[in-house]
């Protein structure tokens, strides 16, 4: 541990789709070594994947710059990323999925962007060779987040990224949102760029997943959109749903009321039940929104909701010299 800190720390969270990690390491370490940057690899995984990480331990014993971190099963990928970032010694981090996404040549290109001033550079897998379903899913995601990216990012979910360490420390990351790190960093005002990178031949076979995977991703995206748009104003979301539902319910009640005036009996009309149900649902939604607003209001003083570009500690004018 006594050697000077490396230029780059490559973080590999081993959570899914395991491949041969030694092959991954060899392939991605080569261009880094060629570029003359000193580096270390940090593999974070669960005890479950020891059969994959043990060969890395042997490589480390031979003197390769590899460190292994193990966390309990059930710790999220986001937490693994934060764990690895906390123990990383390089000023610049690279995140790499534990499987082949892009060619290894992407790494020096991404690092060059960060060294040139970007806070985060993400690979854009292009040209894309993927199944129609996956491409469609990607298009829909970017349609939704276009408001934040301004259409400038094309592959926010790509796991191959280079970033300054501060980004991981300052972007509020939790749950499953590490997947969308470039997007969240952009929202915090960091300079995010993308670099076109060819897809790795190992990732070329077009993959279609089970419906469960797509459902989980859909839930992730809905959660993300809510997080991005409404966390500071939950009543705008729940209030809109609530007023639409209650409004429909109220119109139905009004119709029934006029029919009653016309002499019709209401006691056996199922429409009455639906009208009441809609009103009740609407009121519930608004009440939930109010609880949300209450939490936002009560915590408003605890965290500043903006980030400054020039830190206020720096004097506005140079000290008299």
């Amino acid at each position: 541990m006594s050697e000077s800190s490396p230029d780059v720390t490559v973080i590999v969270p081993v959570v899914e789709r395991p491949t041969s990690l030694t092959a991954l390491y060899r392939e991605f370490a080569a261009p880094l070594r060629q570029s003359g940057r000193s580096f270390e690899f940090v593999f974070v995984s669960y005890p479950w994947f020891r059969h994959l990480t043990d060969p890395l331990g042997e490589l480390a014993a031979q003197g390769e710059p590899i460190r292994l971190i193990e966390a309990m099963q059930g710790v999220s990928e986001t937490a693994l990323l934060k764990l690895a970032a906390a123990s990383a010694r390089g000023a610049v981090l690279v995140t790499l999925p534990a499987y082949f996404q892009t060619e290894a040549s992407a790494i020096p290109a991404l690092l060059a962007r960060v060294e040139a001033g970007a806070d985060l550079a993400v690979a854009w897998r292009w040209p894309r060779r993927d199944s129609l379903v996956n491409r469609l899913q990607n298009r829909v995601l970017h349609l939704f987040v276009g408001g934040i990216t301004g259409g400038r990012l094309h592959d926010v979910a790509c796991g191959v990224r280079a970033l300054r360490r501060e980004v991981v420390q300052e972007v509020p990351l939790y749950g499953e949102f590490a997947r969308f790190l470039p997007l969240l960093a952009m929202r915090e005002g960091f300079a995010v760029e993308e670099v076109q990178s060819p897809v790795h031949p190992g990732a070329m076979r077009s993959r279609v997943y089970g419906p469960g995977v797509y459902l989980r991703r859909l839930i992730d995206v809905v959660g993300l959109l809510f997080l991005l748009k409404f966390t500071d104003k939950p009543l705008r979301f729940f209030g809109l749903i609530g007023s639409v539902l209650s409004g429909i319910g109220a119109i139905m009640l009004a119709v029934l009321f006029f029919q009653r005036l016309a002499g019709e009996s209401l006691a056996s009309r199922p429409m009455l039940l639906l009208a009441v149900l809609l009103m009740v649902l609407g009121i519930q939604s608004v009440a939930l929104g109010l609880i949300g607003e209450m939490i936002v209001h009560l915590t408003a003083s605890q965290r500043s909701r903006y980030r400054l570009r020039t830190s206020p500690a720096r004097p506005a004018r140079p000290e008299a010299a």
Binding site: G189, S268, P270, L290, M294, H297, R305, Y306, R317
Partner: protein, 321 residues
């Protein structure tokens, strides 16, 4: 408290959120300087809200030429509310004045605002006597919004949209702006800080450069924010009481439906399935009552946790001479 840099702390901080106002920044600095004189008793904070033009550079240039000008640069465009909050957080004066960066407000009104504030108020709002804006897109929506705000909050401010306002530091320490709360800042200050509020007429000029950053304000968002604002007083003390009112109303409706169904059943002696509409609607109302009570309890939990994490400042109170 002496400033750590050894510079004497100014008495007055003028805060101007700037978004794409490159032509206006130098004129604004000159106008403020002319209005406030050569003394050291004031500072001007130019809060750049992620401008895409040269506003930030103009602000930096102004700061280099005059040490009383301090640029604050936000990492991205956060909107006017957070830009103002950033300025409030950076302000060092005991008296803080906010105004627009588009030169439609006249800095020569600042001394009068400050004098009024010091005669015994915590917030002095300016109102534009002869407003120089387009009738249909600006004045009429503004008139409607002001009427709604007055009706809902009861805070008698005739021009909530005028940014030229003066605040005591004590009031700012008790309010933390978020969402679009700057639109009814006096009512927010009254609800959260217990601020003493008054208003005085100020001058208003037509726009010289740049584009207006507001459009027709959307009434739904305003209403949602106003609903939150009126609930804040309850949130801060007894959320359960607030939700109990809703629960009691739902319970009363349930009882009314119960009575109705009893009468209907008596009259028709129904045994068929359609006869269950009214009892079922009764149950829905009773369900809503229980649900609202439980939400109120959750509110109490949130309130308690927030107060444990950070005790609240007492509202402003002054002993009369």
């Amino acid at each position: 408290m002496p400033d750590p840099s050894g510079v004497t702390r100014p008495h007055l901080s003028v805060i101007v959120p700037v978004f794409n106002e490159e032509e206006n920044v130098p004129l604004l600095v000159a106008a403020v300087r002319e209005a406030l004189g050569d003394g050291d008793s004031w500072e001007l904070l130019l809060v750049d809200d992620g401008s895409t033009d040269r506003s930030a550079a103009e602000a930096a240039a102004a700061a280099a030429a005059d040490p009383r000008v301090r640029p604050v640069e936000l990492a991205r465009n956060y909107g006017q509310t957070l830009a103002m909050q950033a300025g409030f957080d950076q302000a060092r004066g005991d008296v803080v004045v906010s105004m627009d960066g588009d030169l439609q407000n006249d800095p020569s009104d600042i001394p009068r605002l400050v004098a009024t504030l010091e005669s015994g108020y915590d917030l002095v709002a300016g109102y534009r006597e002869r407003r120089q804006d387009k009738l249909v897109t600006r004045k009429i929506p503004s008139w409607v919004a002001n009427r709604i705000i007055l009706a809902v909050t009861g805070v008698r401010i005739r021009d909530n949209g005028c940014s030229l306002k003066a605040y005591r530091r004590a009031a700012l320490e008790r309010m933390h702006l978020y969402s679009d709360m700057h639109r009814f800042l006096p009512a927010f200050a009254a609800a959260t800080a217990g601020a003493r509020i008054t208003e005085i007429p100020v001058r208003h000029h037509p726009r010289r450069f740049g584009q207006s950053k507001y459009g027709l304000s959307r009434i739904f968002k305003l209403l949602a924010d106003l609903l939150t604002l009126t609930m804040i007083a309850w949130f801060r003390e007894r959320p359960l009481a607030l939700f109990s009112i809703g629960a009691a109303t739902a319970f009363a409706l349930g009882l009314a439906f119960l009575g109705w169904s009893a009468v209907a059943m008596q009259r028709f002696e129904q045994a068929s399935a359609t006869g269950y509409v009214l009892p079922a609607a009764t149950l829905l109302w009773l369900l809503l009552a229980c649900y609202l009570l439980m939400l109120g309890l959750i509110g109490e939990v949130a309130l308690r946790r927030a107060r444990e994490a950070k005790p609240e400042l007492l509202p402003i109170a002054v002993e009369r001479a």
